[in-house]
């Protein structure tokens, strides 16, 4: 067995593990595990409708952001001399 194989095995497996860890850390940081009971219920109330709802909220957020930006532009608008 050459060194390269050992290096490859260790690095690939550690990297894959690290990916999982990072995903978990992200989940904890964004508060996805904050509410135990709700976390379990999420599996029950998971359907097309909920997905649409989430998409709607996302859209709302973006729309809101756009509106803000538009307003900012308006505010900062300076007529050319």
């Amino acid at each position: 067995m050459s060194e390269n194989i050992v290096i490859l095995m260790i690095s690939v497996s550690t990297f894959l593990g690290a990916l999982g860890l990072i995903a978990l850390l992200w989940g904890v940081k964004t508060g996805q595990f904050d509410d135990q009971s709700k976390f379990i219920d999420a599996a029950r109330y998971d359907g097309e409708e909920e997905l649409r709802d989430a998409a709607m909220m996302q859209e709302k957020k973006e729309e809101q952001k756009k509106k803000r930006e538009a307003k900012e532009k308006e505010k900062n608008y300076m007529p050319p001399d």
């Binding site: 550690t14 940081k29 709700k38 809101q64």
Partner: protein, 815 residues
């Protein structure tokens, strides 16, 4: 008459009193199952609203869960949510210019309720984010103030049958949550690193015994190094921070030991890795960080529990009161109430501002302040204390203090202080480990200088010096206390005993004196029926309907008794319900007059009753005929006597401290087998008594539940509070008994003593280990084989010994 469930809230009522509705309007064509029944207009309104919004799937999700009937009055005091003062207090503006508020949603019973509320809020224009926590009913709502007003959002929540009130996500809760999350993230990284390093270490050790080429060893070394680095510097950051603060305050603490041990092992390992001789100890580095970190996390968790309980109690206190100014009623935020303002108090309301009654009379429940469970009758010119509960009537009173000067607020601030203050016992424990780490650091330094002068080689001296630290400190000694207390705390938590900090186990194990409060600790703290005399014609359902209309502790005792004795009592609607202040209740049912109350009330109405009893009495009469007589008294908790005798068998002196009369105190004391009784004590006197014992060098454990015990609890070395006790008591206490059983006090003693024994064994073992290993290391005899073996073995012994705590036997397990 048939009993039917309300279509909306599922509560069961008599069909005759329900609002019946036929969907198509044509009675004959509709099958019975499609007929809708509502208990009130509120429920009816919500049902149709949900239908028109396309949210009727709510009822499928709801199942058989019953809800609170919807409130009809949805627009009451809505305007206050848009007031400037309210905004400043509760609404935060986010970076994007959006508004954010934390609400407690009232009336959430099941996950369907959470679903419905979130769904409705999501549908509201201008609401950007809405998430509700099912566990504690707290919600966070973010909205665009230009599109929608907060009052509109609250109205939406009310329209579907819930209520929402704001709360200040006081720094406390937010901080507790943040620390918890921070620890959790660090633990995740630490566990990941440790697990992977352990795999590699197996290869390492196998290679050590069977022979491995240096180039393979290098690969494993580098892999371990990469994994250990984030664990040490990210997960172990807490210890470096602690060590730094310790250094600044000139204290060598446990954190110093962990940090210096882990860091020196780490540096030594890097040196070994680069120089390619010697063994690396990355596995020990991550092991110690992970174990000690998990121990700390458990402490943080139990602290958060206590904060959660406190928050929910504080959340229920009103944020505004009704004031009367020149005959005009208005809702005023409690901060704006001034001394001299007249405040109106309605039945069931909690008092938040101290004052003096100006008109009206009624009973007040002061049990959270004094521990006394008998309601107190107050009339004109009597003082009202904040924290008490108005039970049965409308009272006007004049504020004698503003909110910040009131009893409730000053107690709360006192508590917040005590939460942040560390007890001196813990510092003592830290000191001992501090001495030890000092000595080890000194020995290491001496070894280094000694070798340097004798041998002349800097490198050898450094390696030997570091090997002293590596071998002495990290595993066994570092793990000795945390590992044992970790197991102890988790066993206790499983039995509903929350130790807020690990060191309390140690303190409690040393205690020889136990002081108990009477009301609410040894007894239930609420009156229950001890004797009932029922006469001919007694109808339990009628009495139940009557007493359910009252908040009085005696009425509640009767309700509990009736529900226990009779199954499935039907609900009856009474008319003309009227509560007579501090005396009883009257009502009519189908023209018959119901009367329930104390002897004075019945005698007043010309009914002769037998009044000879040492307990509280409650009579029930129907049309001038006495139908029932109940004797109520505060009952002693189940198993109290057994628990006390068990504790006494451990060689602990048990005494009772109470504010009650000598007579009732002696009665309870006799029943549970306590010989030393101190009765008629004021809160300060309780605390003085405890101090007396402490001056004699005793470690005193105090168990209590009320605000009246708070000072004594704070004074005692270990304070134990009942889970349902006053928020103050829970806050100042070190241990919380969730199940409130007296037996748990005994269990807590048992667990703490067993844990302390294990700590002593662990410390003894690791000291012995150090006595043998350190001189060897100083002499330079520590070769990698001994180091690797002894390190793993010593920590395994400590971990194994701590696990033995789990074999502790509890009473019920033997049965």
């Amino acid at each position: 008459m048939a009993q039917i469930a309300c279509t909306h809230c599922n509560l069961v009522f008599d069909e005759s009193v329900m609002i019946t509705e036929h969907p198509q309007g044509d009675v004959s064509s509709v099958p019975d199952s499609q007929t809708l029944h509502f208990c009130c207009k509120g429920c009816q309104g919500v049902y149709h609203l949900l239908g028109s919004e396309g949210l009727s799937t709510f009822y499928d999700k709801l199942g058989d869960t019953t809800l609170q009937p919807a409130n009809q009055d949805i627009s009451a005091d809505l305007e206050k949510f848009d007031l400037e003062g309210f905004k400043n207090k509760y609404i935060k503006t986010t970076q994007e210019g959006l508004s954010q508020i934390h609400l407690i949603i009232e009336g959430i019973h099941c996950s369907a309720c959470v679903w419905l509320n979130e769904k409705v809020l999501h549908k509201t224009d201008g609401v950007i984010e809405a998430s509700i926590n099912y566990t504690n009913n707290k919600a966070k709502v973010v909205w665009d103030p230009e599109e929608v007003k907060l009052s509109k959002i609250i109205e939406t929540i009310r329209a579907i049958g819930y209520n929402a009130y704001p709360y200040d996500p006081s720094l406390q809760e937010e901080r507790a949550n943040k620390t918890k999350k921070e620890y959790y993230l660090r633990i995740l990284v630490a566990v990941f690193g440790t697990m992977n390093i352990m795999w590699i270490a197996i290869a390492h050790y196998a290679g050590y015994f069977t022979g491995m080429q240096q180039n393979f060893k290098d690969i494993l070394n580098v892999a371990e190094f990469i994994l250990a680095t984030p664990v040490l510097f990210y997960s172990g950051w807490i210890f470096f921070r602690g060590a730094y603060f310790g250094f600044k305050n000139k204290i060598v603490n446990m954190d110093t030991l962990v940090a210096s041990g882990a860091l020196s092992a780490y540096i030594y390992s890097i040196y070994a890795m680069i120089s390619q001789h010697g063994e690396v100890y990355f596995d020990s580095v991550v092991m110690i960080i992970t174990f000690v970190l998990v121990g700390k996390y458990l402490e943080v968790l139990s602290k958060k529990h206590a904060v959660d309980t406190l928050d929910s109690i504080m959340g229920s206190t009103p944020t505004e009161v009704t004031t009367l100014k020149e005959g005009v009623k208005s809702l005023v935020s409690i901060e704006n109430v001034q001394v001299g303002d007249i405040i109106e108090l309605k039945p069931g309301e909690k008092v938040v501002i101290d004052g003096i009654v100006t008109s009206g009379q009624g009973s007040f429940d002061e049990s959270s302040l004094t521990g006394e469970n008998q309601p107190i009758y107050k009339q004109k010119n009597d003082a009202i204390l904040s924290g008490s509960l108005c039970l049965d009537s409308v009272v006007h009173y004049k504020a004698s203090k503003d909110v910040s000067g009131s009893l409730l607020t000053s107690i709360v601030s006192l508590l917040e202080e005590s939460i942040t203050k560390k007890p001196h016992i813990e510092q003592l424990a830290n000191n001992i480990s501090g001495y030890f780490s000092n000595i080890i650091l000194l020995i290491a330094l001496l070894t280094f200088t000694g070798w340097y002068f004798v041998n002349g080689s800097f490198e050898t001296a450094l390696i030997v010096g570091i090997s002293v630290i590596v071998i002495a400190c990290p595993c066994a000694l570092g793990l000795a206390t945390p590992m044992a207390t970790l197991v102890g705390i988790s066993i206790a938590a499983k039995r509903g005993i929350l130790f807020k900090e690990a060191t309390f186990l140690e303190t409690m194990a040393k205690s020889k004196v136990l002081a108990l409060d009477k009301t609410g600790t040894l007894t239930e703290g609420k009156p229950s029926v001890v004797q009932a005399a029922l006469f001919e014609g007694f109808a339990p359902a009628l009495l139940l309907a009557l007493v359910e209309t009252s908040n009085h502790p005696v009425s509640k005792g009767i309700v509990r008794y009736l529900k226990q004795e009779n199954n499935g009592l039907t609900t009856i609607q009474l008319e003309h319900i009227k509560s007579i202040e501090a005396k009883g209740i009257e009502a009519t049912f189908k023209g018959k007059k119901l009367l329930g109350g104390n002897a004075a009330l019945l005698q007043e109405r010309g009914i002769a009753v037998d009044v000879t009893s040492e307990n509280s009495l409650f009579y029930f009469a129907l049309d001038q005929t006495l139908l029932a007589r109940f004797e109520l008294s505060d009952t002693i908790r189940e198993g109290a006597k057994e628990a006390i005798s068990n504790i006494q068998a451990l060689g602990i002196k048990v005494m009772m401290l109470t504010g009650d009369h000598e007579q009732s105190a002696q009665k309870v004391a006799k029943a549970v087998g306590i010989e030393e009784v101190h009765a008629k004590l004021l809160p300060q006197e309780k605390s003085a008594l405890i101090q007396n014992f402490q001056n004699k060098g005793e470690v005193v454990v105090m168990v209590g539940d009320g605000i009246n015990d708070a000072i004594a609890l704070a004074q005692s070395n270990i304070a134990i509070a009942m889970g349902q006790g006053a928020d103050v008591a829970i806050n100042v206490s070190d241990v919380v008994l969730l199940d409130e059983k007296p037996q748990s006090i005994f269990d807590a003693y048992k667990i703490s003593r067993r844990t302390f024994t294990a700590v002593k064994e662990n410390l003894g073992f690791s000291l012995l280990y150090n006595v043998i290993a350190v001189p060897l290391a100083v002499a330079g005899f520590v070769n990698p084989l001994i180091a690797a073996l002894s390190m793993s073995l010593s920590s395994l012994v400590v971990v194994g010994n701590s696990m033995r705590i789990k074999m502790i036997k509890f009473k019920e397990n033997n049965v």
